[in-house]
Symmetry: C3
Subunit: 344 residues, 3 copies
């Protein structure tokens, strides 16, 4: 295919793998998706875009140095956790969460090490999950992110910043009514928050980047963000947190994972995915509450937890058609392959 032009190019393959790495945050093994997402991030902040590139390059390069399996490298799978951990470290140590701040040299060394560590964590978690035929998802990022964020609070040479961004609903005390902009901004920002971008336009551009590779994924991401936001509204989540997309980003990822990527999309798995999106919204609150005494963000932990809990036991439920991670491409192709195997 045209999009695979540089995948094995002698010089540009690393760029291709890195762009796929950015796309893989939202399950898109496509360098063009990665490029559009990177542009969406840059639209919000050049600093974040640069940090995103640095993170994905550091973790992908670590995999190259350690002579990792080429097939996994070529899918960009060693990069997406590195991109996220680099973004998280900058986001939660910047005075202004929205735009980010240029990191100090000590911080730069620190975040490159964190990104490198996600490569080892990805290999480890993948090895542990291999017999269960489910993917590591963003767990390497969540684990390494928490561990490297906690340490920051205690080192003089690393500025923890004011942890200025409200990361839990606790911070929102005033009650504000939901208005129309709560909805369309909340849903868009939900997608943006996957990449720590507090910008609803960025969110919709990211959706466009996803749609380039898979329209089902983009639709499921949108549906998931809406479901997470609706749960927050129904159960009285604070308006400002909803508007900031905090209730929706885990739901968007969960809906994509369960609605087509790791389960063949059917009416049953659609409902299963929406149930998962609702639970991911509740559990984001739960994990945030658990971590709040430490001032630590939940990251994408509720997405990982819900998706694992709903996929690990997939063999027990005949109503679901699992897609092993190694065979999953796009929801469209996964479904076509399944239908072909049924009719033959």
């Amino acid at each position: 295919m045209q999009v695979d032009r540089f995948r094995d190019h002698p010089f540009l393959s690393f760029v291709d793998w890195s762009l796929r790495g950015i796309g893989q945050v939202v399950f898109q093994n496509n360098p063009l998706s990665g490029l559009i997402i990177l542009a969406a991030v840059a639209l919000n902040s050049w600093i974040y875009a640069a940090i995103c590139v640095l993170g994905v390059a550091a973790s992908t390069a670590t995999a190259v140095i350690l002579k990792a399996d080429r097939a996994i490298l070529r899918d960009g799978l060693y990069g997406f956790n590195g991109a996220l951990v680099a973004l998280a470290l900058v986001a939660f140590t910047s005075e202004d969460f929205r735009s980010g701040a240029v990191p100090s040299p000590a911080m730069l060394a620190y975040l490159i090490c964190a990104a490198a560590m996600t490569t080892m964590a990805f290999a480890s978690i993948t090895a542990v999950l291999a017999p269960h035929r489910i993917a590591a998802l963003t767990m390497p990022f969540v684990l390494v992110g928490w561990l490297f964020l906690f340490a920051i609070l205690k080192f003089d040479a690393l500025d923890a910043g004011p942890m200025g961004k409200p990361v839990s609903p606790e911070y929102f005390t005033q009650t504000m009514p939901y208005v129309f902009s709560t909805w369309y901004r909340g849903v868009g920002t939900s997608i943006g928050q996957i990449f720590f971008q507090d910008n609803w336009i960025t969110g919709y551009v990211i959706l466009a980047g996803i749609a380039v590779n898979s329209r089902i994924c983009a639709a499921m991401g949108l549906l998931g963000a809406i479901a997470g936001t609706a749960i927050a509204a129904l159960y009285g989540g604070p308006e400002t947190a909803v508007r900031d997309g905090l209730f929706g980003y885990n739901s968007a990822l969960t809906a994509m994972a369960l609605g087509g990527v790791f389960l063949v999309l059917t009416w049953r798995s659609l409902l299963y995915a929406l149930f998962g999106a609702a639970v991911a919204s509740w559990l984001w609150v739960s994990i945030t509450t658990f971590l709040s005494p430490l001032g630590m963000p939940a990251l994408t932990s509720s997405f990982v937890l819900v998706t694992w809990l709903m996929l690990l036991g997939q063999g027990a439920f005949k109503a679901l058609v699992p897609v092993p991670p190694a065979q999953s491409t796009t929801p469209e192709e996964n479904r076509a392959r399944y239908l072909a195997s049924q009719s033959s």
Copy 2:
């Protein structure tokens, strides 16, 4: 057998599976045991009895909808975690822990979703543990229970209640002497607390429900509760917490699991089970202390943790005779089968 009359009945099978689900909380695959236990709960509070039925029905129905394996459904194994999570959500959000309160519609929807989630968690944890030939125990309940309880604290539409029930020894400040009633009430309430029933008579009726199916199980449950309570007394646990059965419920479950259900009952495994019961009592305190900054109850986590730690490595110790979960029926039958295999 007579008790299996309705197990495959076209209409009543679901009732049979649900009653077995209630029995499976204490390892009894017997609808009559489930019925007696339900009556014991109703003796304390009609609300809790109704919630118990709702929980077990919701999680069993989820398994039916997802087309789960019929053999596991017929053993009631998809129901027991749902019953517990529904009871826990009501218990810890009711103004009066003892009698419970009728949940609001938002809460009802919430607890049905939690019960449904235990079905997926049960399938997942079972799949992960399958190669080690040990059971999921009440881990699906503990995990889903914690996650859904934490979230409650932050939603306007869900009333967290005063969390009125003392859930940790920290709450008991006054020192009271142990008297005779501390013991017989503490031991009885320990059995009751497995189902969140703060009522010692209910506890003894539950024991009778267990004895209908297995006298060894009932005896081990009683011994475990006594061991847990004795540890508390020896190590200076507060009288009121002992009286409320808080030190004994994990010990009772641990003693049943190790003393006959998952290990063939011998003198060695009897001592092993009592050691486990003692450790479960200590570790209940430990986990309670860990969770106390968050005001979260330990649920049955110390039972699960101790039992897993004492069973996962079973292959390494020739002094123990493991019973794989899929083959375990009652301690009596497990022992008879083992003796038969030895003599042949």
Copy 3:
């Protein structure tokens, strides 16, 4: 060999296994190493030396009673976690962390049970990790240690002591300059802290005990401690914590594990091990921060976490040559075997 003289002796084998158990804390399957380390501990405090013997004997005896596999017993592997948990329980309940205090009878019974529990935890964790061909490391100690330490805080009959020893960098408020003694004492005490010995001379004697069996291990332990201490200095860790060896003990263990014991020592694995040592120092801070609201020490958790994360995925990286735990002897022999297999 001469050092194996008593390994199968009818009466002295238990002593041999116990001494190997002490050596296995730092990966040395050699009774002489164990004896020198015990002497190093005694040099600091006779109480700790006695407790160390009690712990290793209690957990080894538990394995004998449970009829554990003789090959694992003979390597001292059932003992090292028991020694550590006994030391930890005394260290964190003594008024003076440095010298320790003679435990009460209730405490003695408690720590023997904790040591016995590590035997079951070791078998369990080893069983879970077996398919991944990595070792349990000190995880049984960390897990049982945390669980049994938390419970102490709540029992009247067990004195939690003043938790006098600063266990987290938070406790150090004054800023003091680094001097030469910060370095040589900090590095030595890092080795001592592996056994809870706050004494730099003890640390260097322990290194000598390691060198008796493997010079590479001793060198890697020293390098790891230096790396951990250097990271603390670079990132502004407090002088007193550095001097007390708190930043270095996890790094020393990590460097030994990755630099020769579980990976064949090459230039690549040397760098890999030093990277791990640096990360283990950061993550010690992280875990300490996470546990600080509870006043709980990190123990050797950052060593276990980093080493597992860097070994579990070993199959994915062709740049590393793993040594399965069952085949690992000393770094020297592991390397010689690998070179022999390459040349043949």
